[in-house]
C-alpha cells in the first residue's frame, strides 16, 4: 500500500486537496497541528461539503434561457467542494479544488460560471443570514495565474448577460522545502485578515511518505497513485467493516440485526453520507454491497446460510451459537486484505447485484 507518488503529485489530487481544506478548518493545537488550521484560526467553521446550490427562481429561469440560447453555458446547480462560514461578519469562503487550470472554452467552464453566479448577488438570498462569499479556486500554484485570468474572463461573460458574479480568488499549493505550502491570493488574505502570502500547511514531509492527514472525506473514486488505485475505497471499506464489527460484537445469541449499506455508511461517516449527492450515495452503497456484503455472504453461505444473508442492499446476521459468533467475529477481524477494493461498474451490474439475493 506504500505510495509511489511524490509530494508534488499529491497536490494535484482532488481528494488530497479537499481533505487539506477540511483540516484547515478543524481546530488543532498551534504546537502540534496536522494541517495548519488557518481557516479555523480566522474564525471559519465548516458549513457544507459537496452540497449543490439551488438558485433563486428568477436566476434559475435566466440561466435556463441563457443555456438554451447556447452562447455560453452555466451550471444550474453548481456543487462547491467546501464552504466554510464565519458568523461574526456573516461571510463565507466557497472552495473549488482543481488539479489544473482550465480555459473559458473548456468543458469545465460552465461549472466555473455556476460558481461565480452562486457567490455573486444571489448568495445572500440563498444563504441568509450569511451576507457575502468569496469564491476560492485552489490549484497547484504554478497554474494560479492562468486560472485567475480565466475566472476574470468568465465573470465578464456573465455580466454581459445581466448576471452578477461574485469576487473570486485563486489560492495555490506547492510542495517545496519539505512542506506543503498554501499561497494566498490577495482577496483571500483580506478575507482571512492575515498578512502572510504563503504558509506551511503540512511540515516535515519526506519524499518517501504520503503527506495526507487522516481522511475526513469519503470517496469511491480511484486514487491517482498507480501503486494503490483502490486506496480511497479501501479506507471507506475498512471504516465500514469497523462499524459492522462494533455492531456485531454487541449482538446477543439468537438476536438478529439487519444492516443496509446506507445505514452502515451513515454510521461510518457519522451522518455525512446523507449529505452527499444521490449518485455518489448510490455508488458508495454499491461499493459496500459488492465488495463487502457479498463477500461475507459468499464465505459463510455453505456453513450457515440462515445465519448470514444478503438481500438487495441489506446484510442480515443472526448468531445461532456462541461458537459460531466467535468464529464469525474472528474471521471478520482477521479479514484484512480479503475484501477487494476494485470499483464496481455499470448500471447493469448495479441492477443485478441489488436484485439477486445471496443466501
Amino acid at each position: 500500500m506504500k505510495s509511489a507518488m511524490k509530494p508534488e503529485d499529491w497536490i494535484r489530487d482532488p481528494v488530497f486537496q479537499l481533505n487539506l481544506l477540511v483540516w484547515m478548518s478543524k481546530e488543532q493545537p498551534k504546537e502540534a497541528y496536522c494541517v495548519r488550521p488557518v481557516f479555523h484560526e480566522a474564525g471559519f467553521d465548516w458549513m457544507a461539503i459537496e452540497q449543490p446550490i439551488r438558485f433563486p427562481v428568477e436566476t434559475a429561469k435566466l440561466i435556463e434561457q441563457i443555456n438554451e440560447k447556447g452562447d455560453i453555458r452555466i451550471h444550474s446547480h453548481p456543487e462547491p467542494e467546501l464552504v466554510v462560514k464565519r458568523s461574526r461578519d456573516q461571510s463565507a469562503l466557497y472552495f473549488e479544488a482543481k488539479s489544473n487550470s482550465f480555459g473559458v472554452a473548456s468543458s469545465t467552464s460552465h461549472q466555473g460560471r455556476g460558481h461565480l453566479v452562486a457567490t455573486g448577488s444571489v448568495f445572500r438570498e440563498v444563504n441568509a443570514p450569511l451576507e457575502r462569499a468569496l469564491l476560492v479556486y485552489v490549484v497547484p500554484n504554478e497554474v494560479s495565474d492562468p486560472m485567475r485570468a480565466c475566472l476574470q474572463e468568465l465573470a465578464l461573460q456573465l455580466r454581459s448577460v445581466a448576471l452578477s458574479p461574485g469576487d473570486s480568488a485563486v489560492d495555490g499549493l506547492t510542495a517545496e522545502d519539505a512542506a506543503i505550502h498554501y499561497h494566498f491570493d490577495v482577496l483571500s488574505r483580506g478575507m482571512l485578515g492575515i498578512s502572510e502570502s504563503r504558509i506551511a500547511l503540512v511540515e516535515n514531509i519526506a519524499e518517501d511518505t504520503d503527506p495526507s492527514p487522516l481522511l475526513l472525506i469519503y470517496s469511491n473514486e480511484d486514487c491517482p497513485d498507480d501503486e494503490r488505485r483502490g486506496y480511497y475505497r479501501h479506507v471507506i471499506q475498512n471504516q465500514a467493516i469497523a462499524t459492522m464489527l462494533c455492531e456485531f460484537h454487541r449482538l446477543d445469541i439468537g438476536e438478529s440485526i439487519t444492516l443496509s449499506a446506507a445505514r452502515v455508511l451513515e454510521l461510518t461517516t457519522q451522518g455525512a453520507f446523507n449529505f452527499l449527492g444521490h449518485e455518489r450515495r448510490k455508488k458508495m452503497e454499491l461499493l459496500l454491497k459488492v465488495n463487502v456484503f457479498n463477500k461475507i455472504a459468499e464465505h459463510w453461505r455453505s456453513r450457515a446460510p440462515e445465519a448470514i444473508k444478503v438481500q438487495g442492499k441489506e446484510l442480515t446476521v443472526c448468531f445461532p451459537s456462541d461458537s459460531f459468533q466467535s468464529d464469525f467475529l474472528d474471521w471478520l477481524e482477521r479479514s484484512k486484505g480479503l475484501f477487494e477494493d476494485i470499483k464496481p461498474k455499470g448500471p447493469d451490474i448495479e441492477q443485478m447485484v441489488f436484485e439477486m439475493p445471496i443466501q
Binding site: Q28, P29, C34, T209, D210, P213, Y231, L245, R250, K336
Partner: protein
C-alpha cells in the same frame, strides 16, 4: 489462617452491614500495616464504567452483563448489590461460588466494585470481566490526571502527611522483534527476582516521604529524568485520620486508612472528578451538533499526543506490529495502512469497547479521531498506555487545548458536591 471470601455475607440485612464489616477489616488491615504484618487483605475499590450507558449504543443492564460471565448480581438495595462468582477456596484449593464483593452504582454510567480479595486475584477477576465485555471499562487516571490531583489536592492536605508516588515506564516496543513481548500483566514489586532480564528501558520507582519533601523535589527530578513523568499511582492522605488511599492508573483504589467510610468517600470523590473530565473530553472531542445543521461527523476535534523524543524505526515498527494484535494492551483493531516508513493510518476500532476510532501513528505523535457517541475512555486509556509503554514524557491536546490546561480549568474545587 488466610482470609476466606466465604466470610462475606451473601444476604446482608442492608448495605451498612457490609460497611461495618469493611470498617472492621479496614481497622484490622491498618493495624496490620502499622505493625508491618498484613493479616487480612486490604479493602479495595475498582471504579468501573458502564460504557453502553453513554452514547449511541444499546445499554445493557448490569445483571445481564454479569450473567454473561456466569456470575450473579443480587440486589441488596436499589443501588447496592453483591456479586457471586467462582473463587478458589484457600483451604481446599477448589473453585467454589462465593460472594467476591459488592457493587455500588454511583450513576447510570459509573459504579464501584468493593472487595477484600487479594490484590492479584481481584485484579485478574476485574480484568476478566472487562476483557470479556465491551460494555465495561476501567476508569483511566492517566499520568496528567494523577499529577493534577497531586498538585491541586494532595499537596494541600498538609506537608507532614505521608505521601507516595509510583512511576512506571517500560519501553516494551524498543526490543528486537523476537523478544518484544506483549505487555499487559502487572508485576507488582517485581524488581529483581533473578529471572531473565530483557534489555530495554524500564523504570519503576516509588517515592515515599512527607508530602512537603516530595513536593520540594519532584519538579526538579522530572526535569532531569523523563520517566518521572510516567506517574502510575498516588497516595491520597485520608481526611478522617491516619493512612490514605492508593489510587492506581486503572481506577483501583486501595484502602490504607482505618475507615471504610473515608475510603468510600474518596472513591466517590474520584468518580466525580473522572466523570467531569470524561464528559468534558467528549464534549470537546465531538463538538456541538446542535450549533449547526451540519452532520455530526464534520464536528469535533482531533486528540493529539506528541512524544518528547521521536521513536526509533524499530520501536515504531514493533508498536505498529503489536498494537493491533488481539491481546495487546493497546487493544486496537484495524489494518495499518503504511504511508511511509514511520507513518501509518488506521481506520479501525477500539477493540476493548468495540467502538470506531481513526488513528494516525508517526514516530513523533499519535492523532485520534473519535466518532460521536464513542466513549472518551479510549483517549484516556491511550494517554495512560503511551506514557507507560511508548514515551514517558508527552504533551497531549484535545483540539487546541492542552490536556494540562484542560485539567487546570477543571480545578478540583469545581468538582460537584455530592450533597
Amino acid at each position: 489462617m488466610p482470609f476466606s471470601l466465604a466470610s462475606l455475607p451473601a444476604k446482608p440485612k442492608d448495605r451498612f452491614e457490609v460497611y461495618r464489616l469493611f470498617n472492621g477489616l479496614s481497622e484490622e488491615g491498618k493495624s496490620g500495616l502499622d505493625s508491618a504484618k498484613t493479616r487480612v487483605p486490604l479493602v479495595k475499590t475498582f471504579l468501573l464504567e458502564h460504557v453502553s450507558e453513554r452514547g449511541t449504543q444499546r445499554p445493557k443492564p448490569l445483571d445481564e452483563i454479569w450473567k454473561r460471565h456466569s456470575s450473579i448480581l443480587s440486589p441488596i438495595d436499589e443501588s447496592f448489590s453483591s456479586i457471586t462468582d467462582f473463587a478458589e477456596d484457600p483451604e481446599t484449593g477448589k473453585q467454589q461460588q462465593v460472594v467476591t464483593g459488592y457493587i455500588e452504582r454511583y450513576s447510570s454510567r459509573f459504579f464501584a466494585y468493593y472487595t477484600v480479595e487479594g490484590s492479584q486475584e481481584a485484579k485478574r477477576r476485574v480484568r476478566n470481566w472487562i476483557g470479556n465485555s465491551p460494555d465495561l471499562d476501567s476508569t483511566w487516571f492517566s499520568s496528567p490526571l494523577l499529577k493534577h490531583l497531586w498538585d491541586k489536592d494532595i499537596v494541600h492536605r498538609g506537608d507532614h502527611r505521608f505521601g507516595k508516588l509510583v512511576f512506571r515506564h517500560e519501553s516494551v516496543f524498543e526490543m528486537p522483534e523476537d523478544s518484544a513481548d506483549t505487555p499487559g500483566e502487572d508485576h507488582e514489586g517485581g524488581f529483581d527476582d533473578g529471572g531473565p532480564e530483557l534489555e530495554r528501558r524500564k523504570f519503576r520507582s516509588e517515592m515515599g516521604d512527607s508530602v512537603g519533601r516530595l513536593r520540594g523535589s519532584l519538579d526538579g527530578l522530572r526535569q532531569s529524568y523523563p520517566p518521572l513523568h510516567a506517574l502510575y499511582s498516588v497516595r491520597i492522605p485520608s481526611m478522617a485520620g491516619r493512612g490514605g488511599h492508593d489510587l492506581f492508573q486503572d481506577g483501583q483504589i486501595t484502602n490504607r486508612s482505618d475507615s471504610f467510610e473515608d475510603h468510600r468517600n474518596h472513591a466517590r470523590y474520584l468518580w466525580r472528578l473522572y466523570d467531569g473530565v470524561l464528559s468534558e473530553t467528549e464534549e470537546c472531542a465531538w463538538g456541538d451538533p446542535a450549533a449547526t445543521n451540519k452532520p455530526v461527523g464534520w464536528n469535533g476535534v482531533p486528540l493529539i499526543v506528541r512524544f518528547d523524543e521521536a521513536l526509533s524505526q524499530t520501536t515504531f515498527d514493533n508498536w505498529v506490529k503489536k498494537a493491533f494484535q488481539k491481546r495487546n494492551v493497546f487493544k486496537l483493531w484495524g489494518e495499518p495502512l503504511r504511508l511511509g516508513p514511520t507513518k501509518i493510518h488506521i481506520y479501525g476500532a477500539d477493540r476493548h469497547l468495540w467502538q470506531p476510532i481513526n488513528l494516525e501513528m508517526t514516530e513523533k505523535q499519535l492523532v485520534a479521531i473519535l466518532p460521536r457517541g464513542t466513549c472518551g475512555n479510549t483517549f484516556h486509556r491511550l494517554v495512560a498506555n503511551i506514557q507507560r509503554y511508548i514515551s514517558p514524557k508527552i504533551d497531549a491536546w484535545i483540539g487546541s487545548r492542552s490536556f494540562e490546561s484542560f485539567l487546570e480549568e477543571r480545578h478540583l474545587n469545581e468538582v460537584r458536591d455530592e450533597t
